[in-house]
Point group: none
Chain length 231, copies 2
DNA sequence: CGTCAATGTGACGTATTGATGACAATAAAT
DNA sequence: ATTTATTGTCATCAATACGTCACATTGACG
């Protein structure tokens, strides 16, 4: 969820406040005190999101937003505008110009973070995932259901991800390290042997329909998910 | 093709004229003389279409349209705006704000009916007015009624929208974030946990007819509405 | 057959996550 | 002006998922 956020705001006090908040929330703020400077910064590196003050000296926020949205290269970067309270017309103009959301000043840190999160979430690709089926075992990510021979199987979150990982990469041996990277995430610190335990839990859950045999141990290497007979 | 049509118009003369026309054409007109009243009416029952005068005392037609289109629950209701002749700028603003068509005053009954028919035809499949039924639980958006095994169930506005959201997307798991985006709307900022509380309230209301079991918790992912057995 | 390393398995303390009731703020109704 | 509904948040409780360990079992190899 950490993101590079370009803050375009001419008032130093508000700017610092916002920057501090963003850092607190784990983001990487980049500041510009004018629209011109912001455009220059964006030529070097595109931010994940722009926080834009609507009232700026020189080029106005409206004009800046228009340019960002007019350029094919920068067009997809979401913009949240900061407007004075009650300036209803600004909000309308802003949203029409292409801003993705707005915050009225003064705003709380909580509101700021909530809106940033919401905008980033909305624009994140919907990783839907298609149902997978193999030897009578079916897993559907969108409904979060697993069935063996049409009988529902209950799995905990980790076992579910583990099974999904195996079913989408069958017939291949995965080391414990690889499984940890893919299923747990490549930045967690967990013992290799923990994988064994979750394999055990998954096998036990699959026993009811006899699908536990699909998870094969490859001694010295790791595990393999396969519909073919063992070894 | 009979439809419930909300007429938002402050001038009594025009209002009566339009209402008569609509009745003649077999529609069911509901009137509001201000944007505020219109919003209140829409909380009770969604119309199939809104006929909106652009010049209103109090909240303007633009602002009203913007609100309707900003709320996930009402956003798909089509809007036809009524503008004074030659007010070209209004048309542009109106269409940008989300109006689906416009008619310039004065207009003939024939023109009015033709446009209504056209808009309804174009948007018919998406209109939210269709009742939904599942496992003896019935929800009718146009009358704002819910019944479990033919016994009326009382729901607050939020619980109603929540249930409607679930019933129109059964089986699929929805994260709290997705539910917030779809049921609460885009610019509201509320905690993820608030969803839990409303799920609780909805479940309690459905307990009387035993339909509370249709709302399933998918630990680590969100909630699912399903007539099939739990997990 | 015995040894050692790799894997299986049950148990346990802790951390997460969801359920629930209470509460205050706000809006609506009277 | 009061009362009533509705809503969002929080504190607390309960459920269960998680990671690690200790010990059992297995398999390869001399």
């Amino acid at each position: 969820m950490a993101a590079a956020i370009l803050v375009v705001e001419d008032e130093p006090a508000i700017r610092e406040l916002v920057v501090l908040n963003l850092q607190q929330a784990g983001h990487r703020p980049v500041v510009a005190d004018s629209a011109e400077q912001a455009l220059a910064l964006m030529r070097d590196a595109l931010p994940d999101l722009i926080l834009l003050d609507w009232m700026l000296p020189g080029m106005s926020g409206v004009e800046f937003a228009r340019r960002v949205k007019a350029d094919a290269y920068t067009k997809q970067v979401p913009i949240i505008m900061l407007t004075a309270r009650s300036d209803e017309q600004d909000k309308i103009t802003g949203l029409e110009t292409g801003a993705d959301d707005y915050i009225t000043k003064p705003f709380s840190p909580r509101e700021l973070n909530a809106r940033i999160k919401a905008v980033l979430r909305r624009l994140a690709p919907q990783v839907a995932g298609n149902p997978v089926e193999m030897a009578g075992l079916r897993l559907d990510p969108s409904t979060h259901r697993v069935a063996g021979n049409d009988r529902t199987i209950e799995l905990g979150p980790t076992e579910f991800r583990l099974l999904h990982f195996f079913m989408t990469r069958p017939e291949r041996v995965h080391s414990r390290a690889q499984v940890l990277d893919q299923v747990w995430g490549n930045h967690v610190f967990v013992e290799d042997r923990t994988v064994d335990v979750h394999i055990r839990r998954l096998r036990r859950a699959l026993e009811a329909s006899g699908h536990d045999v699909l998870i094969q141990t490859v001694r010295g290497s790791g595990y393999r998910f396969s519909a073919r007979a063992e070894d």
